[in-house]
């Protein structure tokens, strides 16, 4: 069994202090390689925290908060940091969750109605397009809101909302790309069921939170610096 110990304890190549920091997809890859085990644990923790259902928004916010720390290369104590975030922003996250869920439900109700009207009267194509845009941007706004909540400590609710809106408007494409990957992840789960039965248990939630956080973080940082400049 020596080879196991040798593999585990062998000396690494070292990390150059002045090495350029990875950016973009390379950074995402580095985070995934470094934090894969914690991401698996985070997924399970998230599912466990969601069991009472009313805790879903706060649990998702806690996951986003942990993911932001991972992306920023901060040290993560998974259990402690998760529950700290869960407790500290429980009400804000829950309120945000209710608002976004309501908005999403309205949009999904309105979409088929406007689509049916647009078939007989072309004027309804405009509200249909608007609702369609809103329903696509809503998940981005929700993610942006949670990342802002995690990043913008000590800011008022208004400021957090402004920052998250600005982040979506400033950098919508990374958000849409991340949303597509997350959608593909869930589609894979549906298509390959029951082979993919463990996918949501292992990665779908935490990886989804990581991807969305990664996509929105730069925009949120931009919003934060704008807000700081105004102050």
């Amino acid at each position: 069994m020596n080879w196991v110990a040798n593999f585990y304890f062998r000396e690494g190549p070292g990390i150059d202090k002045d090495a350029p920091k990875p950016e973009g997809l390379r950074l995402l890859g580095a985070v995934l390689v470094r934090e894969w085990w914690d991401l698996l644990r985070l997924n399970v923790l998230f599912i466990a925290a969601c069991l009472p259902l009313v805790t879903v928004p706060a649990a998702y916010f806690a996951s986003v908060s942990v993911c932001v720390a991972m992306i920023e290369d901060r040290n993560v104590y998974l259990w402690r940091d998760f529950w700290d975030a869960f407790r500290s922003r429980f009400w804000a996250a829950t309120l945000g969750g209710v608002v976004f869920a309501a908005a999403g439900a309205l949009a999904w109700l309105a979409l088929p109605a406007y689509a049916a009207e647009a078939r007989s009267n072309l004027v309804f194509a405009v509200p249909f397009a608007l609702v369609l845009a809103v329903s696509v941007l809503l998940p981005l706004l929700a993610s942006s809101f949670l990342v802002s909540l995690a990043k913008a400590k000590g800011r008022s609710a208004g400021q957090v909302i402004r920052i998250s809106a600005l982040a979506v408007l400033a950098r919508p494409l990374p958000g849409l790309a991340a949303l597509s990957v997350v959608g593909a992840l869930w589609l894979a789960h549906i298509l390959f069921y029951p082979v993919s039965v463990f996918l949501p248990v292992l990665v779908n939630f935490s990886l989804g939170a990581l991807l969305m956080s990664f996509a929105m973080l730069k925009g949120v940082e931009l919003g934060c610096s704008q807000a700081a400049r105004k102050q």
């Binding site: 585990y8 990390i15 901060r74 040290n75």
Partner: protein, 373 residues
Amino acid sequence: MAGISLRKLRKTYGELRVIHDIDLEIADKEFIILVGPSGCGKSTTLRMIAGLEEISGGDLVIGDTIVNDVPSKDRDIAMVFQNYALYPHMTVYKNMAFGLELRRHPREEIDRKVKDAAEVLDITHLLNRKPKALSGGQRQRVALGRAMVRSPEVFLLDEPLSNLDAKLRTAMRAEITKLHRRLDATFIYVTHDQVEAMTMADRIVVMKDGYIQQVDTPQVLYDEPANVFVAGFIGAPQMNFLDVVIRKTAGGLAAEYEGQLLPLPEHLARAVSGHEGRNCVLGLRPENFHERPPVDVDPALTAPVEMSVELAEPMGAEVHLNGKLGSQGIIARVSPRCRARTGDTVPLIADLSAAHLFDKETEIALRTGRPAQ
């Protein structure tokens, strides 16, 4: 205050005694190095101080308290192990913070201490990495950092540089010395590398077979070794030893080596006065052989000798000549201009003013007060 006293400290494993009633006083904030060959008991002594080995006899006193029965965790000491003993599944940050977490320090304090230590050791960029990715030198810094965050009164370091390559070891030697000055704590350091000991220590403890041979500053150990073992252990290349007999000559006392009379300086002559015919060991360091007569030495205390070269080792700044002086092997350190090759016979001048004399039987140094250099 963290002065440490070892009073008749003993360690036995069954019938086998590995540490023999040693006495040692270590001053507060001193950098002391235990040095000796493998199996001499230096690591065992360190582990007894750490509380990782039971003390079989004698007292270990830290400050004013006998701590023989005090658990390791309550001794206010931190130890850095040879293999670093980092937890492979934890990040550097967690490795450094772990000890403080066990002691239930406040989270903010842990964070501050870890970041401060990382800053000092220049490992801030490694905090969120696991040991697997780190090089030996980086692991070594992390191990030091883990000890530092506890702000102990005493640091125990068990051959912390032995796993590093030569270049890194030299760099880390300087780093640890600087760290000692910065932390202002007592450092007890174990090594078998006498270069490490000479360059870093305030005082060196030379050990052999569980006994302390000599305790003193590096320079005193080098200039005035207490016995043949210390003389041979301290200095690289090591001191040359020649079997001699003390003879009386017209000019005073001399050491006769295979028919050649080698004049003795006054402080050695006084020590063997009245002991003509006594068998002794004459010690001469490699740098005490010169190609030309040294200008700053009394010519009466030099002797021409002939060395048959068996191997010439060019070191860049100097050449080490390995060969024979008569029937006994010696090493001479000469200038890089020396063109001697294997098989050559080289005339050298032996500087006897720096010679050492030891009793052949007891191997203890024979000398009276050496004149000021």
